[in-house]
Symmetry: C2
Subunit: 223 residues, 2 copies
Amino acid sequence: MENKRGIPIPTIKRFPSYLRLLNVFKEEGREMASATMLAEELNLKPIQVRKDISFTGIEGKPKVGFEVDKLINAIISVLGWDNATDAIIIGAGHLGSALARYEGFGSYGLRIVAAFDTAEEKWGTNVGDVPIHPFDHLHRWYIEENHVNIAVLTVPADEAQHVADQLVALGIMAIWNFAPKDIKVPSRVVLQRTDLATSFAVLSAKVKRVMESREFNEEDDSW
Amino acid sequence: MENKRGIPIPTIKRFPSYLRLLNVFKEEGREMASATMLAEELNLKPIQVRKDISFTGIEGKPKVGFEVDKLINAIISVLGWDNATDAIIIGAGHLGSALARYEGFGSYGLRIVAAFDTAEEKWGTNVGDVPIHPFDHLHRWYIEENHVNIAVLTVPADEAQHVADQLVALGIMAIWNFAPKDIKVPSRVVLQRTDLATSFAVLSAKVKRVMESREFNEEDDSW
DNA sequence: TAGATTGTTAATCGATTAACAATC
DNA sequence: TAGATTGTTAATCGATTAACAATC
């Protein structure tokens, strides 16, 4: 039931949670899962889960729910996690290195094939299984020959735009930006950011609300 | 002009971007910034920037815009980034260590005071300036005495729920969950996640769309 | 069968965007 | 002044949620 504009982004964002939970169910040997059950575990409403699942095209059975296996495969498929995508890390600092070592990417169909850095002392070394090359050696042919689709950008904020420009010039298809900087790329290049500040802002706003309500309650217990 | 439900979450999420850009402006010596200008730099629409700014309570001057300093302070204030919040890191693995070393948190009013881990060989060592303690030594009084509000959860997925339960029992106010696992906490505890899978899912979906449209165009150039 | 769950259509809700008067 | 920009009100858009018939 995919509409012309594609699956809504909020739905896309919930898919990984469904996927993780369904994989747990699968390991436990369950064959069916109902929207009610998924919703309960993920603190969502059943109606929302049903709506989300409808975008995968999978149909359920009244009273029992959805086939776990089918649903897993359908979600993997709509996310495009069934064909492996190769990525390079740009900037082998603490965060870049942590990402290079992260083993969970495999289940997202993401493979980190190399890291690039300007620091000479890192050249030729590895982070986990990932070799670090000189950034200057990153050429267009490398990207093409190795079918690198994604650059994971973990350079300092003040270098992010400049490095992104170079990546774009090299023909990269997508940039996953972890630098705390909003960068600009041509519209043909896919840009996604993971911004700690954004996430922390939401946390801060929630904490602030709680603290203020506590102060209020302490000032006046009659409420 | 804050409504009863508070500032919308999408607006909260854009505030850090405004803040970073305004700080650049400030460094450059600019005193005023218009919504038009901010929108241009951040790929937003001017109307949206004006609406967002209205939630800070700051008023601008037609034709010139908003006072950079005032706006910076107002955003910091609504985010609660003016009073420092102390946090501990739970799980000093690669990601936890990278976060412990991250210097950008200071500008969010976030201070990492310690890390806790179950691995004996890490006890007594430091990551950056952050000391690592045995997880078993994390007691309720430590949290209270050190005014620790936030626990940054960077443990493996299969331990996340269990560790979160312990943190809740110790009276933690907020959990910032980096583990690839959806955890449940009582509603009085603030929960915020930073989920790589979620972010990558959006990136994947966009990449998939681009690849499919390219295939389509290659199959039939007449369009 | 009875009743839980699905799938769809319509209503609601909240954020974005448009329109435009006010203003410096 | 002229015109760019603000601030507000109303319209639009898109996602969530409600309602309910279908069904196993």
